[in-house]
Amino acid sequence: MKKLIPLADAVALIPDGASLLIGGFMAVGSPHRVIDELVRQRKRDLTVIGNDTARPGQGIGKLVVEKLVRKVITSHIGLNPETQRQMITGEIEMELVPQGTLAERIRAGGVGLGGVLTPTGVGTTVEEGKQTVEIDGKTFLLELPIKADFALIGAKQADYYGNLTYALTARNFNPLMAMAATTVIAEAEDIVPLGCIPPDTVVTPSILVDHVIAQEKRHG
């Protein structure tokens, strides 16, 4: 059970300027308590990698509104006008990545591949500045792996070792991100004894997870 860590202590591990892979898709499956604590501890100059920046008061959107974010690597900011505003004013540096490419780049970082060869983006502005590779008469973009200092994971269940499960569409980028960071911090709705999650049901094996956020008292 050594992995259980109080929320504040976990977030204290994250320095200003850190790069963060943050799970979630429009805030569904995001680690909400960790995000709130990032705001409370006012971590600054963050690089945030996530599918989207949700809405202004929601998930990753909270970090944007609080101006804690220096750079975003994401596929979609259409529902967060504040992110768009900060991008246009230059407060936030923005790298827009096709969603499937973002998923594969994070996966490649996590599984030790040198890059991703994808047909997506060929002939569009996404191709600019990138190497292309001809294979079997077809053109593919070489997209580079993504890794980060921390992965902040939102899970449904964790067991005492840190094995994780996810629920429905809250799974999204979480299992990929849990492979691609130096330090992995997971927040789970429930923490259950060893053996409660059968081996076949585990999605993220415990050996990938460094810290599980301890529950606050919530009985009664």
């Binding site: 898709f25 259409g78 499937g100 998923a103 983006g121 429905l168 569409t169 809250a170």
Partner: protein
């Protein structure tokens, strides 16, 4: 019938029994309402599920939404998965049809639908993967916006993909991009071929017979 309903009812006829289909946010979502009886279509939401269905009031689940973050439901036999798998289905050629909105389609059948430089930069989300990977790409959009044709000679907006889309369904017409150019396949009820030509910037190839659109019930 309003224009969006018309478009949705026409697109619905393209979906065959057993197809895996991804509907973009907005207009394309309406298509699900008009699937002909007896056809079982599997709907994917790219945030990680196959077998999604419309929301059930009172049964909303914060862990179950569409790609826009709105509540959905799921049918028996649904499957959920991570984003790499979701786009593996899309990029790997397992997705039969994607229905997407559009800003422009040009004479080469190329779609632009993800940004207006200097104005709107939502990001491409899953659109580039969907247009690149789906077996068939159907664009569902208004024929014109603010009096200007969205079927253009050459896209002035950044492309979503260089891949030629399969079919364009508007409130005025059904147009099939081919190697030879854009072929006018059908016209909407009450719309003449002349009306379509007048409202279209791009050159259209007009076959001898251009029937009226069939529509799902």
């Amino acid at each position: 019938m309003d224009e969006k309903t018309l478009i949705a009812k026409r697109v619905a006829l393209e979906l065959a029994d057993g197809d895996l289909v991804n509907l973009g946010i907005g207009l394309p979502t309406l298509v699900a309402r008009y699937i002909p009886a007896g056809r079982h279509v599997f709907f994917q939401s790219e945030n990680g599920i196959v077998g999604m269905s419309g929301p059930i009031a009172g049964a909303e689940n914060p862990d179950l939404t569409d790609a826009g973050g709105n509540p959905i439901s799921a049918l028996p036999g649904a499957a959920s998965f991570d984003s790499a798998m979701s786009f593996g289905l899309i990029r790997g050629g397992h997705l039969d049809i994607t229905v997407l909105g559009g800003l422009q389609v040009d004479e080469e059948g190329r779609l632009a639908n993800w940004m207006v430089p200097g104005k709107m930069v939502p990001g491409m989300g899953g659109a580039m993967d969907l247009v690149t990977g789906a077996k068939r790409v159907i664009v569902a959009m208004q024929h014109s916006a603010k009096g200007e044709s969205k079927i253009v000679k050459r896209c002035t907006l950044p492309l979503t993909s260089v891949r030629r889309v399969s079919l364009v369904v508007t409130d005025m017409a059904v147009i099939e991009p081919t190697e030879k150019g854009l072929v006018l396949r059908e016209v909407a009820p009450g719309v003449s071929v002349q009306d379509v030509l007048k409202a279209t910037e791009a050159e259209l190839i007009v076959p001898a017979n251009v029937p009226e659109m069939a529509l799902a019930a």
